[in-house]
């Protein structure tokens, strides 16, 4: 090459050197290299990592951690690897960093820094196996509901929609038609964001129809709007044929009745419409309340059942006493009313079962129930004498601020009772056997049983009597019940029969026994434990006097448990009476002594206070609400008698013995023991339903006493307020006593005042009574005098009477009723005279004229004024009439025109309105009366026998008719046997016979005709209808009537024929 280089050839020098490699060739080579390299690289890489690891392991590093190495130590054999903190082996890094314009590298030594490596929880790492790359796209496990499933693209198999209940059968058919949709059309109900994939597109078949519709629908300005709207709408969801199932769309027929009740019923029926629940308009609220009303009590009851133990806790919480009371009130609502209801409605056995069940045998509930029982009683009486309570409402409220109160109307109660009746029986049956033994132990139960007895005997009567206040015992009950504690309730029972029994005896004896009963009431209130406590604080007399009464009480209760019969009870009562005798004597002593002797007083007061103390103690033991009641009652014990007493005193109808008692009771604090009897007497005239009863007691009394009693009631309240805080100390006792005395004095004074006042009023009234008849007579005399001349002038009698009346009415304010009546009668008679001049149109005008003048005598309008006016009136009238007629005509024409237009508009439909109007007119059937005198009412007459002739009879008749040979003339001629006639002209004989036979023959023929072709009009004749064509039926009926008579004749005639002609036939 070098030889040949620079050689000359043909005048030029050759430059010869190796040629450059071809680009393509180079490229190919490079590619080949490139292909080879990665393989090699990968080959290299894989051994690399193990190499490093190997070298690390050689250096004592395991898994990039070097144990027991100080941070910062370099790994031997590895340049940039250091041990960082926590023993990890990490590389030292050179980081390039730009600082402004110049760049610098930073050496990052991990051993110098605290790293932020967070170790993942190995456990989770173990639990979750590494997901392969293919599955890295995550997936949310959405709910398994319809929509999400559909989003995922899983569609449920097509199920035809359930047929809804519809009104009309037509609807069914339509629905069926709609259900016949293609099955592949998958419904995606409620899917608002439709996936285009899922859409079924039958678009085209719909469009033309719409277009056609539009073309047809050419109308007003709103039409344009509509079109726009249609266009808009279609563009918005133009993907048509969206096959959304009609979820709760309802389709009704044309004859759907727009009716409120109907709607409600429908709604009730259709559970599908669930968004009705959030209906918010007013009337539906009503609807809802009406719909849901039955539910709450049920819930209440059940809640009560379940929450029984809880309640106990709540009761014991003294801090929340009031709220507890309130809540309890709500709960008691149900129990109380139920009890009430049962006691009223159920027969005795059921009642017994019920009430124990109510109690559910839980001892915990006892106290609460007690309270409930009292409220229940209250309600009974509050209902009974609501009217009476009105006067003393405010007082009552004040007294009862902390007592549970129940307000239930009778209707509600009844409803509840019915509900409970419906609900109860099964559980009762279950529960009662278990409960029975327990019944006796609970006082309320005894009470209930007693009540039941009462009810079985004469519930209603007793109540009535109670209301009237005739029975002392009964009347005494309500106050008892209200304030009564458990024990009292139990004892009250003893009172009831006793008193009823006593009633038969003289009132005096009853009084004594009442006192006894009252004593008995007091005593048993001390349960043994209480008694023990009671011994320590106060006088020792009390326990002594009380002890005897306790055991019998127990006896009573025990006996009660066994038998609920009245007799036994009575026995018990007697026994209790006997037992209580000693105590009574005690009290009698007190009574007699205290009127004079003040020395006895402390005793008595002490007794009372000790009672109060006892109650206090009891309070601590009892559940709060009950305690509440008792505490409220404590002061009342002292107060009430005084309240009652004046009322009693005010009672004018009180008997002598009572007055005697009253004298005894004056200024005595022992009234406490007398409380029940007092109540009884006080409520003789009207019952005091509320427990305190004090204000109510007096309401029925005379006016004067009522006012005073109210004041006293106020006083009593004050006393209540005053006394409550200081009960237990002795000083307070003293003070109380003093207060008592003072108050009693005041009461006495007030009573006197009241009596005076009453007297005053009575005197005034008596005067009034005395005066009035006199004046009345006087007036009558005058009146008669005036009247006689007035009567003479017949025409002018009215004004004269007016005058007389005016004169009479001037001075006398209260004329005697007789006179007034007489006068009024005459007056009225005159007032309603028909005055002929005021009759008619003209008369009306005259009347107006007259009324303008008033009753002035000088301008009386009589018939003379009538005549001239009448002519004028006639003219005017005629004018008016013509104008009216014109108007009418005009309007009629307009109407006609309108109708014609309408007809043109609607086509054949709008025929004359008349027939439709006729069909629309409502005819009141109830207002229709059968008037036999009216011709067309014959249609209402029932066709007795003629039409009702049985088929068999008819058939018979027909058979007869067929059987019977025609009464042929031949036979007849045979019978006549007149040969002459045979040869003579038959026509002569025929006409003679013809008339006789003609009517029945014709009849028969007619009948046969009828039978042969069952007359189409016959059924219409049978129908009894006030509607439709009466006249037609009437005419038909006449025909039938005639027929009936004739038919009867025919029968007879036939019989005659049979008899007459049969021999000849044979």
């Amino acid at each position: 090459m070098t030889v040949l280089n620079k050689s000359k050839w043909k005048g030029g020098t050759l430059q010869i050197e190796p040629a450059k490699e071809s680009f393509l060739h180079k490229l190919a080579q490079e590619r080949q290299l490139e292909q080879q390299r990665p393989r090699r690289d990968t080959d290299d890489k894989h051994p690399n990592a193990p190499k490093l690891l190997e070298s690390f392991s050689k250096a004592g590093v395991e898994n990039f951690t070097m144990k027991a190495a100080v941070p910062g130590t370099e790994i031997p054999g590895h340049k940039d690897w250091v041990v960082s903190k926590y023993g990890r082996v990490l590389p030292v890094m050179q980081l390039r960093r730009k600082k402004g314009t110049k760049t610098c590298t930073i050496k990052y030594d991990p051993s110098k820094y605290c790293h932020n490596i967070r170790r993942l929880d190995p456990r989770t790492a173990d639990a979750d196996p590494p997901t392969p790359v293919a599955q890295l796209t995550w997936q949310m496990n959405s709910g398994d509901d319809d929509i999400s499933r559909k989003r995922r693209g899983e569609f449920p198999p097509y199920r035809p929609p359930k047929p809804k209940r519809t009104h009309t059968d037509v609807l069914e058919s339509i629905r069926a038609a709609t259900q016949a949709r293609p099955a592949q059309v998958v419904s995606c109900a409620k899917l608002k964001n439709h996936q285009p994939m899922n859409e079924f597109v039958p678009a085209n078949d719909k469009r033309p129809a719409q277009r056609r519709e539009r073309a047809r629908y050419e109308d007003s300005d709103s039409e344009e709007e509509m079109r726009r709207l249609v266009a808009l709408e279609q563009s918005s969801h133009n993907a048509p044929g969206r096959d959304v199932q009609d979820d709760n769309l309802e389709v009704v027929g044309d004859d759907y009745l727009v009716k409120f009740g109907g709607a409600r019923q429908k709604r009730r029926g259709s559970l599908m419409n669930q968004d009705e629940d959030d209906y918010d308009s007013a009337d539906t609220d009503e609807l809802f309340t009406s719909r849901k009303r039955p539910v709450p009590p049920r819930e209440n009851i059940s809640g009560e059942r379940t929450a029984a133990p809880k309640r106990k806790l709540g009761e014991q919480d003294k801090g929340t006493k009031k709220t507890a009371v309130l809540s309890k009130e709500a709960e008691e609502d149900s129990t109380g009313t139920e009890e009430m209801a049962t006691s009223r409605k159920l027969s005795l056995p059921q009642k017994k079962n019920n009430i124990p069940e109510e109690r559910t045998g839980k001892a915990k509930r006892k106290t609460k129930e007690d309270n409930g029982g009292s409220t229940e009683m209250m309600t009974v009486h509050s209902e009974e004498d609501e009217d009476e309570t009105d006067s003393a409402d405010s007082d009552y409220e004040a007294m009862f601020a902390n007592v549970t109160r129940l307000e239930i109307s009778l209707a509600d109660l009844q409803k509840l009772a019915q509900e409970s009746l419906e609900k109860r029986p099964p559980p009762d049956a279950r529960v009662s056997p278990a409960r029975v033994p327990k019944r006796g132990t609970l006082p309320e139960d005894i009470l209930a049983a007693l009540l039941g007895d009462d009810g079985s005997d004469d519930k209603r009567e007793a109540k009535k009597e109670k209301q009237k206040g005739r029975r002392v015992a009964r009347t005494r009950l309500p106050p008892f019940r209200g304030t009564a504690t458990l024990d009292e309730d139990a004892l009250k029972k003893t009172d009831v029969p006793e008193n009823t029994k006593d009633k038969s005896d003289g009132s005096s004896s009853s009084f004594d026994e009442e006192a006894k009963a009252a004593a008995a009431v007091r005593r048993p209130r001390l349960s043994p434990q209480r008694e023990q406590k009671q011994v320590s604080p106060d006088s020792e007399e009390l326990p002594v006097s009380r002890k005897p009464s306790l055991p019998p009480q127990k006896n009573i209760s025990e006996e009660r448990t066994g038998k609920a019969k009245r007799k036994i009870k009575d026995d018990d009562d007697e026994r209790s009476k006997e037992m209580s005798v000693p105590s009574e004597e005690d009290e009698d002593e007190v009574d007699s002594a205290e009127s004079d002797d003040e020395a006895v007083f402390p005793n008595v007061t002490r007794l009372e206070i000790s009672l109060a103390y006892l109650r206090k103690m009891a309070k601590e033991k009892r559940a709060p609400p009950d305690a509440r009641v008792t505490s409220a009652r404590v002061p009342k014990g002292g107060i009430l008698p005084e309240d009652d007493m004046p009322a009693f005193l005010g009672d004018s109808s009180s008997e002598d013995e009572r007055e005697a008692k009253k004298e005894k009771q004056k200024g005595s604090t022992v009234a406490r023991t007398r409380l029940p009897p007092f109540r009884g007497t006080a409520t003789l005239d009207e019952e005091a339903p509320k427990t305190t009863g004090a204000p109510q007691n007096t309401t029925g009394e005379s006016d004067a006493s009522s006012s005073s009693s109210e004041e006293e009631a106020e006083e009593a309240e004050e006393a209540v307020a005053l006394r409550r805080p200081r009960l237990s100390t002795r000083e307070e006792e003293e003070r109380q006593r003093k207060d008592n005395k003072r108050r009693l004095a005041a009461v006495e004074q007030r009573r006197k005042e009241a009596q005076e006042h009453k007297k005053l009023i009575q005197g005034a009234l008596a005067n009034l009574d005395a005066v009035t008849p006199k004046t009345g007579k006087h007036i009558v005399f005058n009146f008669d005098d005036d009247d006689e001349p007035a009567a003479v002038a017949a025409d002018d009698s009215v004004p004269a009477r007016d005058k007389a009346r005016a004169a009479a009415s001037g001075p006398r304010l209260f004329g005697s009723s007789e006179d007034e009546e007489d006068g009024d009668d005459e007056e009225d008679g005159g007032r309603f005279h028909i005055r002929p001049q005021f009759e008619g149109q003209a008369g009306q005008k005259l009347m107006e004229l007259q009324s303008r003048f008033g009753t002035d005598e000088r301008f009386r309008m009589d018939s003379r004024f009538l005549e001239e006016e009448e002519k004028e009136d006639d003219k005017e009238e005629s004018e008016v009439k013509t104008s009216v007629a014109e108007d009418e005509d005009f309007l009629q024409e307009e109407k006609r025109r309108n109708m014609s237009i309408l007809q043109g508009l609607l086509g054949h439909q709008a025929t004359s309105a008349k027939p439709s109007a006729k069909t629309k007119t409502f005819r009141d059937v109830s207002a229709l009366h059968y008037d036999p005198s009216r011709e067309e009412h014959a249609a209402f007459e029932s066709k007795a026998d003629s039409n009702k002739k049985s088929k068999s009879a008819r058939r018979k008749k027909r058979e007869e008719a067929q059987k019977l040979p025609e009464v042929s003339k031949e036979i007849f001629y045979d019978v006549s046997g007149d040969l002459k006639a045979m040869f003579g002209p038959a026509a002569v004989q025929k006409p003679a016979e013809q008339p006789k036979a003609s009517w029945d023959e014709e009849e028969e023929e007619e009948e046969e005709k009828d039978e042969e072709q069952p007359a189409p009009e016959e059924p219409s004749g049978f129908m009894f209808s006030f509607f439709g064509d009466e006249i037609q039926t009437a005419s038909e009926h006449k025909e039938y009537k005639a027929e009936s008579i004739q038919a009867a004749k025919v029968m007879r005639a036939r019989g005659y024929f049979d008899v007459g002609f049969s021999p000849q036939n044979r």
Binding site: T178, M226, L249, E250, V258, K259, E276, K895, R897
Partner: protein
């Protein structure tokens, strides 16, 4: 005040018949007296003969309203029903639509009725048929025009309009000044 001309009567009746059909004749030919339609201030009033007579005592320019206003004629001589006519349309309506309680308010604010608000509908309702709208408690709320037939109403999706709003009782408040 004057009676309607033939043309006007026709337009008016056509409109009315969309809602109550042939029941118009019950309005025209009433058994309890003579009733008539009168045009006053481009509005059609429906009144009894007695009121008509009484109204003659009032000069035309002073008379604001007499009887019941059924609607008005627009400048283009089309008739537009007012909500005041509802009292007479509701009892005679042939086709009805009940709206659900939730949709009631929406309708009373002047909106169309969507499928979701449709509680009940008379069967065989044609498209563009005039319908009277009721609440589920059967209180007439107004009237409108069916945008879909009953059959279509079953299938359309919940947000589609089924009844076009025409008038509702909310207008008594909203259009207080315009209503007579």
């Amino acid at each position: 005040m004057r009676p309607l001309t033939e043309e006007e009567t026709k337009t008016f009746f056509e409109k009315l018949s969309k809602y109550i059909g042939e029941n118009i004749k019950l309005l025209v030919d009433r058994p309890d007296g003579t009733y008539c339609f009168r045009l006053h201030n481009n509005r059609v009033y429906y009144m009894s003969q007695n009121i008509l007579k009484l109204s003659t005592n009032i000069s035309r320019d002073k008379l604001v309203s007499v009887g019941t206003c059924f609607g008005k004629f627009t400048k283009t001589n089309k008739f537009r029903l007012h909500i005041t006519a509802l009292d007479f349309l509701a009892p005679y309506a042939k086709f009805k639509v009940w709206v659900k309680p939730g949709a009631e308010q929406s309708f009373l604010y002047g909106n169309h009725i969507l499928k979701s608000g449709l509680g009940r509908i008379t069967e065989n309702t044609m498209q563009y048929q005039g319908v009277v709208v009721y609440s589920m408690a059967d209180v007439p709320l107004g009237f409108g025009v069916a945008a879909k037939t009953t059959q279509e109403c079953r299938r359309v999706d919940p947000m589609s309009i089924v009844v076009f709003h025409q008038a509702d009782v909310g207008e008594f408040i909203r259009n207080e000044d315009a209503l007579t």
